[in-house]
Symmetry: C2
Subunit: 190 residues, 2 copies
């Protein structure tokens, strides 16, 4: 998914990249490299053209996975970027990653005058909010098996390529438990 196509579909139908009130540049990350580390103050916003991002969190010193981002999504350590505080999550490339990057300061400056920048920021923040609401309700109301099925339904082309232990860390279950869930979801793989 390209940035221009994404913005035309979700923000402004007649949008062209030349209309952007900030600069973007293409950046690449190799698999398993850190995009934003624990303790860094986020100064970029990224749009994923290809690849998957993992959002790590330390829980009592143990690594957990809080979230994933997929092609066609914006990501950054957003709480860090908005609050200018050290990030308490770590963003890393679960696969080779190709993104369009925006300097946070340029985006924040555009918010002062640009209808487009504010509309983009509002719509993408709404999207992030809805994702959080869904995850919060799912954690309260769904089993790990149901949450795995949801991931599969939403991102069928990606989930089967992701390491089992990463998905288990996200679901908060033992990899062995996830393997049992996968055998019920994909009985032909037994």
């Amino acid at each position: 998914m390209q940035l221009e196509a994404h913005i035309r579909a979700h923000v402004e139908p007649n949008f062209q990249l030349a209309d952007l009130p900030f600069s973007v540049r293409e950046v690449h990350f190799e698999k398993d490299t850190i995009v934003t580390d624990y303790g860094a103050v986020e100064d970029q916003v990224y749009f994923i053209e290809s690849g998957i991002v993992e959002v790590g969190l330390l829980r009592q010193g143990e690594p957990r996975i809080l979230d994933f981002f997929f092609p066609g999504e914006f990501f950054c350590s957003y709480a860090s970027m908005l609050q200018r505080r050290p990030s308490d999550v770590q963003l890393s490339a679960l696969t080779p990653l190709r993104c369009q990057a925006i300097h946070a300061q340029e985006l924040l400056a555009a918010y002062a005058h640009s209808l487009f920048a504010n509309r983009l920021g509002r719509i993408e923040t709404e999207r992030l909010y809805l994702k959080k609401v869904k995850r919060e309700k799912d954690l309260l109301t769904k089993t790990a098996a149901e949450r795995y099925q949801d991931l599969l339904d939403e991102h069928p082309q990606w989930i089967q390529q992701m390491p089992v232990q990463k998905i288990a860390l996200y679901l908060g279950i033992h990899p062995g438990s996830l393997s049992r869930i996968r055998r019920t979801v994909f009985p032909h793989m037994c």
Copy 2:
């Protein structure tokens, strides 16, 4: 907290109510009345001038409290409003409630042309997002006692007035456990 003062402090320093690109009207709810019920499609956005709102969720048929909103905050069943779907949360007045209400359709119409409306929507959605991020991390990393202490630190004037069983439903613990936590936080109350 009045709406005009809130917007001047957080969105636009020179703001006056006459500048709003949508209408607002004052509404009142009595204690324990439902503002938005399960299954309703949210068609209002509210700003709390006084009172506390409780956000209820059914977990396997059992009531839970997902969140509270306090004076100076906007609230609505936001996922329902944005997605035009039946609400899976119930908003109710934990105390007598005085709000400024905005018709969702007027707000959404203003988003098409108004820099102010988009800035307001972006900033308030960022705030809601940061609240969700904090709650998600807290659920993963903090004990019920620590989460109770956070509530007290953030809203000292309100929390001690709220029924213990409501706070226990929010923290996901038995009211008896919360009473024990409160005795360690407020030893003078023993």
